[in-house]
Amino acid sequence: MLTMALYISNQAGLRYLAGDISGGNARCIAMLEAFQESIKDYSTPPEKALIRDLTAKINCYVSFLIECRPLSISMGNAIRFLKTRIVKLPLTLSESEAKATLLSDIDRFINEKIILADKVIVRHAVTKIRDGDVLLTYGSSSAVEMICLHAHDIGKQFRVVVVDSRPKLEGRLLLHRLVRKGITCTYTHINAVSYIMHEVNRVFLGASSVLSNGTVYSRVGTACVAMVAHQFHVPVLICCEAYKFYERVQLDSICSNELGDPDAISKVPGRKEINYLDDWANRENLQLLNLIYDATPSDYVSMIITDYGMIPPTSVPVIVREYRKEHLWI
């Protein structure tokens, strides 16, 4: 038991904590793989039923993960999937058979719902890139990165504007990877988005989740970029795998948000002269607020590209409904 908990912590929890793994898909895959490992090590204690006991164990791991960093909605969906699979296990199966079924279920989830879904999204999205286009993206989304790389591979001529924001500056990493592949890039910060939007044809954004009222829940700043794009009549395309859709609704960005480290705001790496807020903890009037996500209203979104095709934000509840059915069938 202890070894399993340790494994989870090493594999996923502590790496989340350190920020090693970020991005909805990466976190979700890391978590599922950790679960796989713990299921492999699992043996039902005497006088206990596998279904009950394993569910309890999973709950215990999940609460540990939440301690490290609040779960993303994609992770919540994956956990729900795993739990339904455990509950639905036929009682007749032996322990080893049950474990094998669960392991293959998790594998299928990772392959079908994440890896394959991304491939489908890339195939759809590439049709929306024309030669000479200027694409804009914000932060670092794995789906958007794959789209850019694929479009570049098939010989499309385009330019990418990478908009970045403090404190994470994830856009720099994306910029590194795109420039390395030979894609022409423009880099700027989120304040300058109104300046750069004049030259942009398409905005591609990733999402942490899409809620069933069409609200896109994503990295903080996405709403600003979508708003400015909307103002300039530039289409906003959200790339999001359907397993991240969520039936909850939300209108505002502050509820159920995640708080980042306030120190990240006061410290500006590479700019030592900016140290005005270094002693912020000692000043009771001063607070630093580091939100992680925000909610983009659905009217800023032109289209959501998912593994089920390209849909308007109003169709999200349909996908959520159908997807839930499918879960039961797997």
Binding site: D164, S165, R166, P167, R172, L175, H176, V179, R180, K181, G182, I183, T184, C185, T186, Y187, T188, H189, I190, N191, A192, V193, S194, Y195, I196, H198, R219, V220, G221, A223, C224, M227, V228, Q231, D252, S253, I254, N257, I265, S266, V268, G270, R271, I274, Y276, L277, W280, R283, N285, L286, Q287, L288, L289, N290, L291, Y293, D294, A295, P297
Partner: protein, 456 residues
């Protein structure tokens, strides 16, 4: 005059090196410089106003040419233009002359604002003082005419009338258009020479003893008025701050971006009147003036929360009012403001949050913006955004075509269109954006809108 030349040159160099910070300081220094130019200007007996106006115009042209859009509170004298970062070549942070820049060089509106505003204000002052002296002189003339020879009233009547008409015409060129001036405007106005020559005309008529006293008087009056202007610039934020209580109410939440002394004074004035409220400060990357502002506000005892720029949209739903400073206010009511404010203004509009701009009257610019995002902007050094060291490892991956793969854009200003501005608070009170054109007519004369003469 060698003295003024030296002063002007010194100021021009300061402007070029960007040693003058902020539009307020620039405005004050410009006004002081122009005052000393006026006081040292030798004035002929006739056409004094013309001589003064010409002197100020020539100095003004030099200053405007020297001064790109002044920068706010930033000492780095880095490359002002778009830097191209080459990943495959030797030239790394290069100044490049892209198409945009060419457009900017052609546009003559670039590089005026505070300096140009003050030059125009001083020109307007000279015209006004001259006019008031002229009308006074005419009044005196007609009075004396009436008292001296009452029998010749009919004969004298004509020249007095025409002089009055000339004065009225002159006034109509200075005064903003109104129904009264339109009606006053007689057919003479078309043929009427501008103010200055009318001054000359009446000079010729007046007695020679009067002349010297008048010439001194014009100069004296103008310097008095310029002193008043300097005083106004110095005290403008106090006058703006006085209005704070009318706008900030108990328990409100205020959002601001950028660092403006006017905003600090405004917020603190409300705080001193025992209003308790909370201020959200967006940090304003990559210049991080929000950090400076937050430190100042906290030192003055305000409840302050610093947020990232990207969280503006998320937080604006909890905000009652956005209060910001502007770099310049254009004639259509649009503002040139620290970069990021257009985004804030859009978010505020979306959530029906009032977007209030604080601006001293010296920031009012009588020009209508054309493509302001480019022409009235300034692109700063890319090093504020990306450290070259981080990208040195990409060098081997350069395309080898000589075309830069990576392009870093770091503009300093944003243009916020008038429809996004809910209210302007100036030292003369609150105004709607649509009223700016009228304020301009109060402070500037239409003849001075274009200070720079294009070489023909």
């Amino acid at each position: 005059m060698p003295d003024t030349h030296a002063l002007v040159n010194e100021f021009v160099i300061k402007l070029k090196k960007r040693k003058v910070e902020g539009s307020k300081a620039t405005a004050k220094l410009t006004a002081e410089l122009l005052r000393s130019v006026i006081s040292q200007q030798r004035i002929p007996h006739t056409n004094q106003a013309v001589a003064l106006i010409d002197a100020i115009k020539s100095v003004g042209e030099q200053l405007i040419a020297a001064n790109p859009v002044e920068r706010d509170g930033d000492k780095v004298t880095a490359a002002k233009v778009q830097g191209f970062m080459r990943t495959g070549g030797v030239g790394l942070w290069e100044e490049a002359t892209g198409g945009r820049e060419k457009e900017r060089e052609d546009g003559d509106s670039f590089g005026e604002l505070a300096v140009g505003n003050i030059v125009r204000r001083v020109l307007h002052i000279i015209r006004e003082e001259d006019l008031s002296l002229t009308t006074a002189a005419i009044g005196g003339l007609s009075l004396s005419a009436v008292s001296d020879d009452e029998d010749d009233v009919e004969q004298d009547g004509h020249p007095v009338l025409s002089a009055a008409a000339v004065a009225a015409a002159a006034r109509s060129t200075l005064r903003p258009p109104s129904l009264q001036t339109l009606l006053e405007d007689l057919p003479h106005s078309a043929a009427a020479p501008p103010t200055s020559s009318s001054g000359g005309d009446s000079d010729g008529k007046s007695k020679s003893a009067d002349k010297s006293s008048r010439s001194r008087k014009l100069k004296h009056n103008v310097i008095e008025a310029v002193n008043e202007l300097i005083q106004d610039i110095a005290t403008c934020h106090e006058q703006i701050a006085e209005q704070a209580v009318e706008h900030i109410h108990q328990n409100e939440v205020i959002l601001t971006l950028g660092s403006s002394i006017t905003v600090i004074e405004f917020l603190c004035a409300a705080k001193e009147k025992k209003r308790s409220f909370r201020v959200f400060v967006a940090e304003g990357a990559p210049r991080y003036q929000g950090h400076v502002l937050a430190k100042e506000l906290v030192a003055r005892g305000l409840q302050t929360t610093v947020i990232t720029d990207s969280a503006v949209f998320a937080m604006i739903s909890r905000v009652n009012m956005v209060i910001v400073g502007a770099h310049a206010v254009m004639a259509n009511g649009g503002i040139i403001a620290p970069v990021g404010l257009n985004m804030v203004a859009l978010a505020a509009q979306r959530h029906a949050v009032p977007f209030v701009v604080l601006a001293g009257i010296h920031k009012l610019c009588p020009l209508y913006p054309h493509n302001p995002e480019v022409l009235l902007n300034e692109l700063k050094s890319p090093s504020e955004l990306l450290d070259f060291g981080e990208f040195s490892d990409c060098l081997d991956f350069g395309s080898g075509t000589g075309y830069p793969l990576l392009h870093v854009v770091n503009p300093a200003f944003d243009y916020v269109p008038p429809k996004l501005v809910s209210l302007f608070i100036t030292d003369t009170g609150g105004h709607n954006a649509s009223y700016m054109y009228r304020l301009i007519a109060d402070y500037y004369s239409a003849d001075d809108f274009v200070v720079q003469r294009r070489p023909s």
